[in-house]
């Protein structure tokens, strides 16, 4: 399995360290500035990635766990400052094409607006919950000339969806709401926030990322990727230097 994450994503780094022996590798934006990447239109089986110091065919990996919304300037300290914004846009566009064409599981599947699932604002998460038949509290937002202060209502309960499993929901109603919203968004991995831990709690928002430091979440993610498959040997394409 490949974990695509920012170099500053400690949870991703720790997760990879815990499972490195099982074949889990970390892919950070810096790895895209190494020789050996290849993407051919209409031929996803030919895609070669470079991660963890190795080149391998993407379709021989066990899948990709994506935790990177987009490549940003901050991810590219090795690129000349004047070029960083352009390179960040290019790398994001490249990763979208690679991940979207992959024949192995990619979770969360990228969307055109985000490399790790849907890029929905709070309002859209609430509309999704409403469409799924769950009560929602009206969210008010405003842009006023005299006072633009924005206060985001803090969550009082969360639930984590991993595939068909819901972890940490305080009651079955919120568990059902979390799973329904995830399904509506097409997100296999989702953290859903509620305004109240009781059965009358309503969806505030959701994030297409999960807490990999939670052992239950970690176990569910690994199960989803069918780690036995991910642990199979990969084809080392050659031993030439990975420059860059």
């Amino acid at each position: 399995m490949i974990v695509l994450a920012s170099a500053w994503d400690d949870a991703a780094r720790d997760f990879v360290a815990r499972h490195a022996l099982a074949g889990v590798s970390l892919l950070v934006p810096r790895d895209l500035s190494r020789s050996g990447w290849r993407y051919r239109s209409g031929d996803p089986a030919a895609t070669i990635m470079v991660a963890g110091g190795r080149r391998f065919l993407l379709n021989e990996s066990g899948g990709v766990l994506t935790r990177l919304p987009a490549v940003t300037d901050a991810d590219l300290p090795h690129i000349a400052a004047a070029d960083r914004a352009y390179v960040a846009a290019e790398l994001t566009a490249f990763l979208l094409a690679v991940l979207a064409s992959a024949t192995v599981p990619v979770l969360n599947a990228p969307t055109p607006q985000r490399l790790c699932g849907p890029a929905w604002q709070d309002a859209k998460w609430r509309r999704a919950a409403h469409r799924c038949g769950f009560a929602v509290k009206e969210a008010r937002s405003h842009a006023l000339i005299v006072d633009d202060a924005v206060e985001e209502e803090p969550p009082r309960a969360t639930a984590t969806v991993v595939g068909d499993t819901c972890i940490g929901a305080p009651n079955p109603v919120l568990s059902a709401a979390a799973r329904a919203v995830a399904k509506a968004a097409g997100a296999a991995l989702l953290t859903v926030e509620f305004d109240d831990p009781g059965p009358d709690g309503t969806v505030l928002r959701a994030r297409p990322l999960v807490d990999l430091s939670d052992p239950l979440v970690e176990e569910a993610v690994l199960r989803l990727f069918r780690m036995t498959d991910a642990g199979r040997p990969r084809t080392e394409l050659d031993d030439r230097s990975l420059g860059g």
């Binding site: 500035s33 239109s41 566009a93 979208l96 094409a97 859209k124 509309r127 842009a143 633009d148």
Partner: protein
């Protein structure tokens, strides 16, 4: 109510505004350069309600039936925002709330942000184009100079261009560029087989199709004038099956308005390079004498 979102001097927006006036359609122009005078309230729950206030004008968000976006970053087009951080934050907030509204409104949005984002990755969009029946050029994206050499050997002439939506000039790869291939290692770069032929820009507006033919010898006609080369743009007709394919492709991408770049090869094959979700159609409409702005206005008025 129709909402137009953008800036005063945007040519397509100006043309659509004029066309809406001619047909007597009511519209509200949300001019991003007037952030200082603009306020928005949005409430989302069981329904979507709210109001835009700009100067003395008001727009009830619940009554919006269609929206045409030609928007920029409001911070960048608001006079004084570069010196006034509070104003800049207000401009950002206006953009953010409008985006949230567009995400949840039942109105026709031309075009939705999620659909438009497909144009941010050319190879991603190209895969969708290929799935809808058009030929697409063979493409290689790599950080490996040896891959480029093999690709060039296979295709003879090749071009290179940006992967993302950042506009770049399409250039033919020449032998003298070989020395720069070592720089590929810093950023995957997109190469495509060069395809000779005649360029066409097809605008799809709802079910209407407007085709223009571009006669030009440059690799990238958009920059031909800058290089002293002639460009002739003329209205034309395309085969029915190509028009139908364009309609289907635009619909599949979620675009009510699209600018589709095609090339007809000497072998008679229609290739599609890209689908632009926010086309500057006036460049083609002016030269080809086509009523594209009127068609957009009618589309918006139909809701």
């Amino acid at each position: 109510m129709i909402v137009l979102w953008g800036v005063e001097d945007d040519a397509p927006l100006a043309v659509v505004r004029s066309a809406l006036r001619r047909i007597g359609a009511h519209f509200f122009f949300l001019d991003q350069s007037r952030s200082r005078e603009t306020e928005i309230d949005l409430a989302v729950g069981d329904g979507v309600t709210g109001e835009i206030r700009l100067g003395g004008a008001r727009c009830d968000l619940a009554s919006v039936a269609a929206i045409y976006l030609r928007c920029h970053n409001a911070r960048a087009v608001t006079p004084g925002a570069n010196r006034d951080e509070a104003l800049a934050r207000h401009a950002d907030r206006l953009d953010q709330i409008m985006s949230a509204f567009l995400d949840v409104t039942a109105a026709r949005v031309v075009n939705p942000a999620e659909a438009m984002a497909t144009n941010g990755s050319k190879p991603y969009q190209s895969a969708i184009i290929a799935a809808h029946g058009f030929a697409v050029p063979n493409t290689l994206i790599t950080t490996d100079p040896d891959e480029v050499a093999a690709f060039a050997a296979r295709h003879g002439e090749i071009i290179y261009k940006s992967i993302s939506g950042v506009r770049s000039i399409v250039n033919r790869f020449q032998p003298e560029h070989a020395g720069r291939l070592k720089d590929l290692v810093w950023c995957p770069t997109q190469f495509q087989q060069y395809l000779p032929g005649r360029d066409y820009r097809v605008h799809v507006v709802g079910d209407a199709v407007f085709a223009t033919e571009i006669v030009c010898d440059a690799d990238d006609y958009r920059y031909a004038a800058r290089r002293g080369e002639d460009v002739i743009i003329q209205a034309t007709l395309i085969p029915f099956f190509v028009a139908d394919r364009c309609r289907a492709l635009a619909a599949a991408l979620g675009f009510a308005l699209a600018g589709i770049d095609l090339r007809l090869t000497p072998q008679g094959e229609w290739y599609c390079f890209e689908v632009n979700p926010s086309p500057a159609f006036t460049y083609y409409a002016d030269a080809g004498g086509q009523p594209i702005g009127e068609a957009v206005a009618e589309l918006l008025a139909a809701g």
